[in-house]
Structure formats: structure tokens, C-alpha cells
């Protein structure tokens, strides 16, 4: 029934693109005149209803198409699950060929389902959340464009086309972070995101150049096939492979906000909350993980890179988690949590557990999107208040939001049975078995898990429990969100719970008779179940990590429920440490002082000194010289006839003298 669906794979990105065109047209022709005329958003203009239907429908249709395609792919034999659809030639120059063609394999199948699925829910949510927004159509144009770019990113069959999506999502991120461009901080954040991402792209670009001149192609299948062959024959040295993969990883670090390029992500919270959920939690920021997983065959050839990936991932995980401890802005807590969780995914990739990385990517997409959307719901209920210190006691006022958020918090904390538990535990276990620094990596990751549980429940307790600390004006207007928002919340809550069941680790799954579906789906045929260490060790570590997570929750309860005065006391006791954490370890300030300002100053200097003084100085100096010489020479031409006559005489003397000299000699 569905076998023919693959031929229509192009529809998956095409639907959102259509949405871009239609919504863009509406934004241009229906919304712009309204906004320019200064009419308020009060009256519901008919075009808004059209947008509210069109935009989610485009992504929904895309999701449906994706489902059909994936089903069709699944119907194929496991070793035949690779579908490439050539659309049109894009850039061709000599031996270089980068076509626009789409590739669907198990990995991209997972990705498109996550992107379109979560994307659809967030589109629906946005209809409610942005209902008071004036630039409604513009928002959805950007959001559709983002979905399109993300789909191009994951469906590309070569690195260059992936780069198109890669930069495309970066652009949408820029546009959406700066959506409220009237606010200076929003515009700044957008620019920062784009520029920091570009630093990563710089690495990605160089990686592509090096890869092309090494392998003669940028198409995944060809690159991986040739890489394997070349490594076997020794023409691909470890150094070369390491360089290529490290440069790629630089790109991933930029996009996925890892140390040292994570600084843009917390600022990106200036954007509307659904944007944070979609772009800065569920999809775009995971593009780096996807890229590393996609290039797994290459990365495995470069052990040094793998170690780097793992170390960077682990370091980012714990570093960002500690910053998350003291943030007071609800979205910023979640942002640092995202950075931290992305670190987990890289840790997984770095230890060779790409499947675990992708697994966590998917579950994280569910629960982190849910967290953001729930936070958005809270913010919506509080008329835009984002400060945790001005919340409290919301449990009964926004029940659906509370329940869903609690589910998500439990999931991210790693409570057994929820999705986060399975994916995180998989990573921990794989990290423990890593070829290098296994136990150290495990310890760091486990500690991070504890911190994560702590700050997530700190958030939950501060927002939903205790006495209300809301402004009275705000408190009066607290209301549960409309169904367009709560419905996606509920759907994501279900996914946050159940999403992990596709990847139940073998040690548990075997007991209850559920296979690790995801691993089977993603792994090349025959690779499953190759390794089996001690089941007892695995179970023991699992129990330990559960204990750590529970400990984190208990600590949060103790500090923020039982004795709300303790955090202040702790802060007062170690002010330096507290300030450092609160100020995000001053990394932004460091970058500003060490990179941004010197660059601007150097540029000023170059311009003023080099251009204006040196080069123009030489040029104008030459002009002045000519003019001065002219002044001198001019005096000879001063109209004094005697002078002219004398020159004539002198000339005659010299010429005759020369003739005599010549004829004599």
C-alpha cells in the first residue's frame, strides 16, 4: 500500500515551502498594510484565520507524508533501507557535483518524524500562543521556512545540501530570535546567534573542502564508502581523518551550542517561546548531533576526534548544568538545560554510541519541547512574566500545564519508565564502556544527571508550589491556556512518557520481552547485540544513576520546599562562587573583552591608520610632491623672458656640445 510513497518524498519539504509562499504572500499583501496603517491586533482579520489554518496544516501534511514515506521505507528489507531521490542538479563544476537530491534512510527517517511531528505540535501551539501578536503571518512564514530548512538539512544526500539547510535554519533562528526586533536585546541576540553559528560554519566549510579533495565527492554514500576503502589502504591517514572530522565537529559545536560556542543559545531565549521550543530545544540545535551521527563512519576513523567529542560533550553537560542552577529566568534555566542535554548527545556520539545519541535526541525533543511549551504556557498565563522569583503557587491555577510540566521534569530527571530515563541511561552505560576515560565520563555524566534533576525540580517547586510571589495585577489575570496550547502539551506529555519505549535497553527489554526497536532500526544489519558486558554491572550503574536523580529531586525539595531560606544562606556563604555561577562564569564578558572589542579596535585602527594615513598618505603624498615640484618648476616659467632665453642658450650649448663630442669621438 505504502511502497509507492517514497517517490513522493519531495513532498515532505515541499509542503512547508508551500506554507512559506502562501503565508509570505499573506504577510506581504494582507498583514503589511494593516500594520502600517497602525490598526490594532484587536479585530480578528480574516487573513489571520487563514494563516492559523495554513501554517500548521502545511507541517501536518508534511508529517503525514513523512509517516507514509517512513512506513514505506520500513516495508523494505533491512539492508535495503536507503532511498535516494534526485531532484535537479545544483552546483556542478568539473568533477565537483552537488545535486539537490533527497536521501531517506533510518537515521533521516527518525529525524523527519521528530521534526515534522514536534514541529506540527508547536505550530498548533503557536496559533494560541501568538494570538495577540500583530505580525502573525510573518511569524508563521518564518516558522514554516524553518521547518523547510530543517527538512532539507536532514533529508540531504550530500554535505553541501545539508549545509543549505544548516544555514537556512540558522537564518530562521536569526529571524525568529529577533522577531521582536524593536527590542534591542532581541536583535542583538539574533545577530549573536547567527555570527556564532557562522564561526561553526567556517569549520564545516573547511571540512567540506578537505573532504571533497580527499574523497572526490560530498555525497554521503560515496564519502563513507571511499573513506572506508582509503583507510583500509592507508591513503587516508589518521591525521587527515582527524582534521576533517574535527572541522566538522567545529560546525556541530556552533550549531549545537557546545563549549566554547554555546554562548548564543541562552540569549536566543529572546525569541517567542514556541520558537525556543522548536528551534532551540527540539530540532535545530540537534542538527550538530545529527551531523556527527550521520558522519559516524568518518568519525570512527578518527579516534582522537571521538575523544574530543566525548570530552567536549561531557564538559558542556556539567558546565551548563551548573549555570542552570542559579538562573532565575524560567526560559534561561531551560536553555542551559538544553545545552547540557546536547552535551549528553555529543558524549554519546563521542563514545561511538550514535544510536544512543539519536535516541536521546528524540526523547529530548519530546520532553524539552514540552518543558518549553509548558513554560510558555506559564508565561502566557502570567501575561509575559518570566522571572521564577515572581511565580509560585500556580499548581492549581494552571492544572494541565502543571501536570505536563511535571511529567517532562520527571522525564528529564531520568525517572524510570519515562523516556528520558532510557535514553540517558543508555548514554551513561555506553560512556562507562568508552575506550578512553570511560569511568570518568560516566561520573561526569552521572553528576550532571543529579544536577539536572535538582535544577528542574527547583524550577517546578519555584513555579508551581509555595506561596504566590506574583504581582497582584498579574495574579488577577492568571488563566489556563486555550486548547490550541494545552492539546500539544498533552500530546508531548504522552510522547515524553512513551517515547522511550522504542529504545528499551536489552538488559531490561529482554526481561519483559520488548526488543530495542530503535537500535534495530538505526543500526546496520547484523551489528545489533554484538557486545554484551556484565548485565549485573549495567543494572548496578542504572540503579546508581536512579539514586543520583532521586537525590537531586530530594535536594531540590529540601532547599526550595522544606527550607526556602537555605539557598539564600548558601549564596551568602560563598558569594564569589555564587556570583560566578549566576553570571554564567563571565564567559560572555570574556569573549567580549578578548575577541569582540579587540577586533573592533583593530578594525578602527586599520581603517584610520592604514587606509587613511598610509595608503592614502602615499597617494596624496605623491600628489603633494608633484604639486610641490610643479611650484618649483613653475618659477622657471615665471614669465621672465631672460629665463626662457637662458634655457634656450643652455640647451643650444649642450646640444652643440653633444654633437661636437659625438663627431669627435
Amino acid at each position: 500500500m505504502v511502497t509507492g510513497a517514497l517517490e513522493y518524498l519531495w513532498l515532505v519539504p515541499a509542503f512547508p515551502l508551500l506554507g512559506v509562499v502562501l503565508n509570505g504572500a499573506l504577510a506581504l499583501f494582507a498583514e503589511r498594510p494593516l500594520l502600517l496603517s497602525g490598526a490594532g491586533a484587536g479585530g480578528v482579520a480574516p487573513y489571520r484565520r487563514a494563516v492559523a489554518v495554513l501554517a500548521p496544516a502545511a507541517v501536518g501534511a508534511s508529517f503525514a507524508a513523512a509517516l507514509l514515506c517512513v512506513a514505506s521505507l520500513a516495508a523494505r528489507a533491512p539492508d535495503d533501507r536507503l532511498f535516494v531521490r534526485f531532484l535537479f542538479p545544483w552546483i556542478e563544476a568539473g568533477s565537483f557535483k552537488a545535486p539537490a537530491s533527497l536521501l531517506l534512510d533510518p537515521l533521516s527517517a527518525v529525524m523527519i518524524l521528530v521534526v515534522t511531528g514536534v514541529g506540527f505540535l508547536i505550530h498548533v501551539y503557536s496559533v494560541g500562543y501568538m494570538s495577540h501578536e500583530r505580525a502573525f503571518a510573518r511569524y508563521f512564514t518564518y516558522l514554516n521556512l524553518f521547518t523547510f530548512s530543517m527538512l532539507v538539512l536532514v533529508l540531504a544526500d550530500n554535505y553541501l545540501l545539508m549545509f543549505v539547510g544548516w544555514e537556512g535554519v540558522g537564518l530562521c533562528s536569526y529571524l525568529l530570535i529577533g522577531f521582536w526586533y524593536d527590542r534591542r536585546s532581541a536583535a542583538d541576540a539574533g545577530k549573536k546567534a547567527f555570527v556564532v553559528n557562522r564561526v561553526g560554519d567556517f569549520g564545516f566549510l573547511l571540512a567540506m573542502f578537505l573532504a571533497f579533495w580527499t574523497f572526490g565527492s560530498l555525497t554521503y554514500t560515496e564519502v563513507f564508502a571511499r573513506a572506508g576503502g582509503m583507510a583500509a589502504s592507508g591513503t587516508l591517514t589518521a591525521g587527515l581523518a582527524t582534521t576533517i572530522t574535527l572541522l566538522m565537529f567545529l560546525g556541530a559545536v556552533g550549531k549545537s551550542a557546545q563549549i566554547p560556542l554555546y554562548v548564543w543559545l541562552p540569549d536566543a531565549m529572546e525569541g517567542p517561546t514556541p520558537v525556543s521550543a522548536l528551534i532551540h530545544a527540539a530540532t535545530m540545535v540537534t542538527a550538530g548531533v545529527y551531523m556527527v551521527a550521520r558522519s559516524g563512519a568518518l568519525f570512527l576513523l578518527a579516534p582522537a576526534t571521538m575523544t574530543t567529542v566525548a570530552v567536549v560533550g561531557a564538559a558542556t553537560a556539567i558546565f551548563a548544568a551548573t549555570i542552570g542552577l542559579c538562573q532565575t529566568d524560567i526560559k534561561r534555566v531551560l536553555a542551559y538545560s538544553t545545552v547540557s542535554q546536547l552535551g549528553y548527545m555529543f558524549l554519546a556520539c563521542g563514545v561511538g554510541a550514535f544510536t544512543a545519541g539519536i535516541f536521546h535526541l528524540a526523547t529530548h525533543a519530546f520532553f524539552k519541547a514540552l518543558l518549553f511549551l509548558a513554560a510558555g504556557s506559564v508565561i502566557h498565563a502570567l501575561s509575559g512574566e518570566q522571572d521564577l522569583r515572581k511565580m509560585g503557587g500556580l499548581k492549581g491555577r494552571v492544572p494541565v500545564t502543571f501536570v505536563t510540566m511535571a511529567v517532562a521534569a520527571l522525564a528529564i530527571a531520568g525517572i524510570p519508565g519515562l523516556s528520558g530515563f532510557f535514553s540517558k541511561d543508555e548514554i551513561l552505560w555506553k560512556a562507562f564502556n568508552a575506550p578512553a576515560y570511560g569511568p570518568v565520563l560516566w561520573a561526569v555524566a552521572a553528576a550532571t544527571a543529579g544536577i539536572t534533576a535538582f535544577y528542574m525540580f527547583r524550577l517546578v517547586f519555584l513555579a508551581f508550589y509555595g506561596p504566590s510571589r506574583m504581582d497582584p495585577g498579574v495574579e488577577k489575570r492568571v488563566h489556563e491556556s486555550p486548547w490550541t496550547m494545552t492539546l500539544p502539551l498533552s500530546a508531548l506529555a504522552v510522547l515524553s512518557v512513551a517515547g522511550g519505549w522504542v529504545g528499551i535497553p536489552a538488559v531490561l527489554g529482554d526481561a519483559v520481552g520488548v526488543p530495542n526497536l530503535l537500535e534495530r532500526w538505526l543500526s546496520p544489519p547484523g551489528a545489533v547485540g554484538a557486545e554484551h558486558h556484565s548485565a549485573a554491572l549495567e543494572l548496578g550503574l542504572m540503579a546508581l544513576s536512579i539514586g543520583i536523580a532521586l537525590g537531586g529531586i530530594w535536594l531540590a525539595h529540601r532547599l526550595y520546599r522544606a527550607r526556602p531560606e537555605t539557598p539564600g544562606a548558601i549564596a551568602a556563604r560563598w558569594p564569589a562562587l555564587y556570583d560566578a555561577v549566576r553570571n554564567k562564569y563571565y564567559v560572555d564578558e570574556l569573549y567580549d573583552r578578548a575577541l569582540v572589542r579587540p577586533a573592533v579596535r583593530a578594525a578602527e585602527w586599520l581603517w584610520q591608520m592604514f587606509d587613511a594615513r598610509l595608503v592614502d598618505g602615499i597617494v596624496n603624498g605623491a600628489a603633494v610632491l608633484v604639486r610641490a615640484a610643479g611650484e618649483r618648476v613653475r618659477r622657471l616659467q615665471g614669465g621672465i623672458v631672460g629665463g626662457y632665453a637662458f634655457s634656450l642658450l643652455l640647451g643650444a650649448v649642450l646640444i652643440v656640445g653633444y654633437i661636437i663630442y659625438r663627431s669627435a669621438g
Binding site: 613653475r634 616659467q637 615665471g638 614669465g639 621672465i640 623672458v641 631672460g642 632665453a645 642658450l649
Partner: protein
């Protein structure tokens, strides 16, 4: 003692040189013009001497032409002088520098 062409040519050079000194050093326009006549005379001596020693009439013809030119030059030069004198009330060539840029 016979007089060869070189003697005439030497005389010619001396006359020319004296004329040149006048043209270059004097400030009185009238005297400059007369010095020019002296130079032309020196040239004429050379032409005539050369023509006569070589038995070629061309020397004479050239001297004739030079005299004609000298007459024309004197006429135009003096006319200019009068015009300038009317304008500036001077015959000092150093003050005639209106062509100066």
C-alpha cells in the same frame, strides 16, 4: 696669409655669441631686439662666407632670406613693443610677465 672659411665662421660665432649675451642679459626690450639683429648678422656672415667659398649661390639666397626675416621680425617686434608700452609704460622685460601662470 690667406683667410679661410674658418676665420669667417669664427667671426660669425663671436657675433652670434655677443648677440646672445645681449638677448639673455639685458632688460631693455629694445636692446634685446637689437641683439637679435646682431645674432642674425652673425649668421649671415657664416652663410655668405660658406656660399662664397663653396661657389654656391644658396649661401647668398639664405642670407637674403634671413635679412627679409630680420626685417619682418623687427617690424612685428617693435609693433609689439609699442603695444606693450602703451599697456605697461615700461620697456623692462622683467615686468612683462603677464603670461605667467
Amino acid at each position: 696669409m690667406t683667410i679661410g672659411p674658418s676665420a669667417y665662421l669664427l667671426l660669425s660665432a663671436i657675433l652670434f655669441g655677443v648677440g646672445v649675451v645681449g638677448v639673455v642679459t639685458r632688460r631693455n626690450v629694445l636692446i634685446i631686439l637689437m641683439s637679435v639683429e646682431v645674432m642674425l648678422n652673425g649668421v649671415n656672415v657664416a652663410f655668405v662666407a660658406a656660399g662664397s667659398y663653396l661657389g654656391d649661390a644658396a649661401g647668398g639666397v639664405f642670407a637674403f632670406m634671413v635679412i627679409t626675416v630680420a626685417a619682418a621680425e623687427a617690424a612685428v617686434g617693435l609693433a609689439l613693443l609699442i603695444a606693450l608700452f602703451r599697456l605697461k609704460e615700461t620697456v623692462d622685460i622683467t615686468e612683462l610677465s603677464i603670461l605667467k601662470w
